[in-house]
């Protein structure tokens, strides 16, 4: 069976610096990889490689066997970044409509409304994004990333700016997507949050996995202590 996400010896260099260095892993449907690491460890670069936004210097990344950045692979990926990736002059609904149109969704209005409701931002959907708070913008950004119900959801510090209600909505959404068979990669600095969602956990440092294991049975407190030792 083909893994939904498969990275083989991924390397990405910027000049002489190896931002991602020999990264290999697989995720099946319903898997969630929690990716931890200090700033500059290469987590965001890894996600950009898996989104097809960066070309690897060597190695391959595939989505359900299709090599990135093929259109048929990208269509199955959703990306939540720490940047909101929205047009601030447009409303939340217009931003999502634009995304739905780019993805050629069959019932765009239904998909847009569903995504807005999932993030509990439907009541502010017709307000220009620039008039929303940072937290509400982040909710709209997440709604934009899931409007096409991607099979692979890449989340780069998705809880940034979210209040408690937004965090709860996001956690519920990620669980729901995982149970529906999506593969998730969640980059976060919150170990408890990441481990609670994950089926696999990995720690990155200097572009490499220095630790990668199934997360079942991992004690969060002990993991946190070992994490501090590893990245110190």
């Amino acid at each position: 069976m083909t893994a939904l996400v498969h990275a083989t010896a991924l390397v990405r260099t910027f000049g002489t610096r190896r931002a991602v260095d020999d990264l290999s892993f697989s995720l099946d449907a319903g898997d969630c990889l929690a990716l931890f690491g200090p700033n500059g460890a290469g987590k965001t670069t890894a996600l950009r490689l898996l989104a097809g936004l960066l070309k690897p210097s060597s190695g391959t990344a595939t989505i359900d066997g299709i090599a990135l950045p093929a259109t048929t692979a990208r269509v199955r990926v959703g990306l939540i970044s720490h940047r909101v990736m929205l047009y601030d002059a447009l409303t939340a609904r217009e931003n999502l409509r634009f995304t739905a149109a780019l993805y050629g969704l069959a019932a765009p209005e239904d998909a847009v409304q569903r995504a807005l409701e999932a993030l509990r931002v439907a009541d502010r959907a017709d307000v220009p994004v620039r008039a929303l708070s940072r937290g509400l913008q982040q909710r709209v950004a997440i709604a934009r990333a899931i409007v096409h119900t991607p099979d692979v959801l890449l989340c780069d510090e998705p809880y940034t700016g979210l209040d408690e209600q937004g965090g709860v909505a996001l956690t519920a959404l990620l669980r729901e997507r995982r149970e529906a068979g999506a593969a998730l990669i969640v980059v976060t600095h919150n170990l408890q949050e990441g481990l609670a969602l994950a089926t696999q956990a990995a720690i990155m440092r200097n572009g490499r996995f220095v630790r990668h294991e199934p997360s079942a049975g991992v004690d969060p407190l002990r993991y946190a202590a070992e994490y501090r030792d590893l990245v110190a």
Binding site: T71, V84, T99, P128
Partner: protein
Amino acid sequence: MTDPTRGILVSAWVIARKDLAIEFRTRSAFLSAIVFTLLSIVVFFFAWDPTAVGPLDLAPGVLWVTFTFSGMLGLHRAFAVEARDGAMDALLLAPVPRESIFLGKLLANLAFVLGVQTVALPAVSLFYNLPLGAAALPIAGVLVLASIGLVSVGTLFAGMTANTRMTELLLPVLALPFFIPVVIPAAQSTADLLAGRPLADVFVWLRILLAFDLVFLFACTVAFPFTLED
């Protein structure tokens, strides 16, 4: 479910519509370009000595110099809206061919430039007391042909310079030399048409414009995806 096989033109239209909606909502670049255009025409008018140069000799040059520089304002805007908050990443992640991003931007830029020209042409005609009359329609054709060429090259360079630190400086430095082969036939054919020469006399210039449009529209569309490589 999604249909990733949709055509380049459909995706381009979606992107152009979004850009025009943003410009319609903010009107910042369009109003700036209109004000710049009218001010330029006024400056040229007051610097003009009618006893030395006739209006028919000066007006085409004023018209095309003004169009060329005001168009730059629209070209800057095209990719600035994508750079803010990382929206370009969402566009690149979407299952649309890179060429459709270029064509979408080109369509929006073309609408922007033609919008500016619909204000500038009557203004030049008014200031220089030009008899547009029967020449209005052929001149409109020249404007459209020349705009396609200018916008094709300009959109490519706007995309290339969008992520550089000196985009406002680099874009005109790179694009203006490529605009010369468009501005010369455009100004010449405008002068001929304003002077009342028959359409057959300007065909040679129109053919140059058409050839430039075809070559650069194709070349810039093909080259654009390479400007997005990291």
